[in-house]
């Protein structure tokens, strides 16, 4: 009898796993595309390695964000967040046209700066373009559509590269969610995550420039949703 019980338990486990895979193969929402364009300035092998590392860090982080954001029913659509490397070797000359043609959530491009004597690490100036998302939402304080972060590509800055780009992507997702009237629970989830990332950057002394601007804008959005004007 114990053998039978064990086999039944084994079958129950198999059935549970079948259910899990069935859930994961359901129809998907339209793609929320982060489109990567050329990061110029990479001419030597070490600089190409640096830019490859940078792209890999950001692409991996987008995949991680996608998983952690999309685990509720209301936020399921965020599982369609994807990175598109089709244009990674093309110069981004007309961001608005590319943003519209690609129907992208955001475009990423930038330039690699060689290390100054003695510093050792390449620096990337990364630009994120979000088209007219802020205007669509009707942000009262923010009308910028392009944000720039300058970061050394070094082991010590791994967390900061991940966090600044996560913050920019979460901001774009928040504006998208607001302009497409997504459930406020989704927006507050994004706000909560942005708040945590801002705290981490602040503790490292890296919440500055456009990252600080976006952190402030997310706080403004949070307050406007929490205490809506009568």
């Amino acid at each position: 009898m114990p053998g039978t019980v064990i086999k039944l338990r084994a079958l129950a486990a198999v059935f549970a796993v079948c259910q899990l895979f069935a859930e994961q193969t359901r129809a998907q929402e339209p793609v929320l595309k982060a489109s990567v364009w050329k990061y110029g300035g990479a001419i030597s092998a070490p600089s190409q390695d640096a830019i490859d590392s940078f792209r890999s860090i950001v692409a991996d982080k987008i995949l991680m964000l996608r998983s952690s954001l999309s685990d509720t029913t209301e936020a399921k659509y965020l599982a369609s967040l994807a990175i598109d490397l089709t244009h990674q070797n093309e110069n981004l000359s007309d961001p608005l046209a590319a943003w519209q043609t690609e129907q992208a959530l955001l475009l990423m491009s930038g330039i690699l700066v060689s290390p100054q004597a003695g510093s050792g690490a390449f620096t990337v100036a990364s630009t994120i373009y979000i088209g007219d998302l802020a205007q669509r939402y009707g942000s009262p304080t923010q009308s910028k559509n392009s944000f720039r972060v300058d970061l050394p590509i070094s082991s010590e800055e791994l967390g900061t590269i991940q966090d600044t780009h996560s913050l920019l992507i979460i901001y774009a997702l928040t504006l998208d969610a607001l302009s497409t009237n997504r459930d406020h629970q989704v927006v507050f989830r994004l706000i909560a995550m942005a708040h945590n990332i801002s705290q981490d950057l602040q503790l490292r002394g890296r919440l500055n420039g456009d990252a600080a601007l976006i952190s402030k804008e997310m706080a403004t959005i949070a307050q406007s949703l929490r205490y809506p004007a009568p």
Binding site: A10, A13, M64
Partner: protein
């Protein structure tokens, strides 16, 4: 994720039925640690060291459960949570947690990104008692209102572990040329370690492994057992899933002061510390408030706080000042944080019903 169900299931099912004792005999908490993505042996060795650190935290708690660490031997197909969970759900693993990661190379060293993910099997495993789900029953005439909260998050990304080029070099060779002995007393040499290995048993200073075609015991270098944030936090979760509240509390108290924490993990340490207190019949509200103060938009933190308020009311004596005070705080919190819940949120509706039943 597209899977061919035939390929995915038929072969592993047979493996499972032929070796049922391997997976199904008792309530287990199973953790898979596949090799981290990297160049060379670094990723494999990082995963193995984390696995050994986790083994060192497993304790004999009288809960009819056991913790099992599965040392993965194959890297993930892709560096993604989907891939990690797919591997963990493989019927030869059937893991409830998976620790996965990647080593990024830079000109000045390596940054290691480790992640912890719960698999959906944690909730679907009929052999588990799901002790980690906090449930409160509020009497309502002849029936009850049941309030439940699950763990605060399904996945974590840990702050990067930084290794200098010298440390990378040491890590790559950490398992090389360790002498394998044929007996646990380490008296008779039978071989040396090389490349990948599989672990079977762990003692504080030695482990039974198979490497290079030889199975036997190796003496672990000093310092291996020292815990990292990744292993301590993951180990705390293993203890929680096994219902070892005191053991989990000890580990969480140890890492809460660490500087190498991000906000998300700091918040959840507070929540889990509060949870362990509640599970031991004490109030966890002060820990929940710490989490809420760190991020008042965190729905999990708010849910834990509200559950804590309800638990405080139910622990207090009838018609006592403590009960009146806890009730007042519950009502205040429900009003203050209602904006985080949609109108049709079942949990929030049930808490509202419970509050009306608990009104003094």
């Amino acid at each position: 994720m597209k899977l061919n169900p035939f390929i995915a299931f038929v072969m592993p099912v047979w493996a499972c039925l032929l070796h049922p004792a391997n997976v199904m005999a008792e309530e287990q908490v199973r953790v898979l640690v596949p090799p981290f993505e990297s160049q060379g042996y670094l990723g494999e060795n990082v995963a193995n060291v984390l696995g050994f650190q986790l083994l060192g935290t497993l304790s004999d708690v009288d809960k009819n459960t056991s913790g099992v660490i599965i040392f993965g031997t194959q890297p993930l197909k892709t560096f993604s949570e989907e891939s990690a969970i797919e591997r963990a759900l493989n019927l030869t693993n059937l893991a409830h947690l998976v620790i996965w990661g990647k080593a990024y190379s830079f000109s000045d060293g390596v940054g290691i990104q480790a992640n912890l993910s719960f698999t959906p099997f944690r909730l679907k495993d009929a052999n588990r008692k799901h002790r980690e789900i906090w449930t409160i029953h509020v009497p309502s005439g002849e029936s009850i209102v049941e309030l439940k909260v699950d763990l605060p998050r399904q996945s974590y990304s840990f702050p990067a572990i930084l290794l200098s080029p010298e440390a990378v070099s040491q890590f790559e060779k950490i398992f090389e040329k360790l002498v394998i002995f044929g007996d646990p007393a380490l008296t008779k040499q039978v071989g040396t370690m090389a490349g990948a290995f599989r672990a079977y048993q762990y003692l504080p200073d030695r482990a039974e492994i198979e490497s290079n075609g030889v199975r036997g015991w190796v003496r672990l270098p000093l310092g291996w057992a020292s815990q990292s944030v990744v292993s301590s936090f993951s180990a705390a979760y293993i203890r929680l899933l096994r219902g070892d509240w005191l053991g989990a509390e000890m580990l969480l108290e140890n890492i809460v002061q660490s500087e190498n924490l991000n906000a998300e993990i700091r918040i959840d340490i507070s929540l889990l510390l509060g949870l362990t207190r509640e599970m031991q019949g004490k109030s966890g509200v002060s820990q929940f408030l710490t989490a809420v103060n760190e991020n008042e938009f965190d729905v999990s933190a708010i849910k834990y706080l509200i559950m804590g308020r309800v638990a405080d009311i139910m622990r207090a004596s009838e018609k006592s000042d403590a009960r009146d005070e806890a009730y007042g705080q519950l009502v205040q919190d429900l009003g203050e944080y209602a904006f985080l819940f949609s109108g049709d949120d079942e949990w929030f509706r049930d808490v509202g019903t419970a509050a009306s039943l608990l009104k003094p």
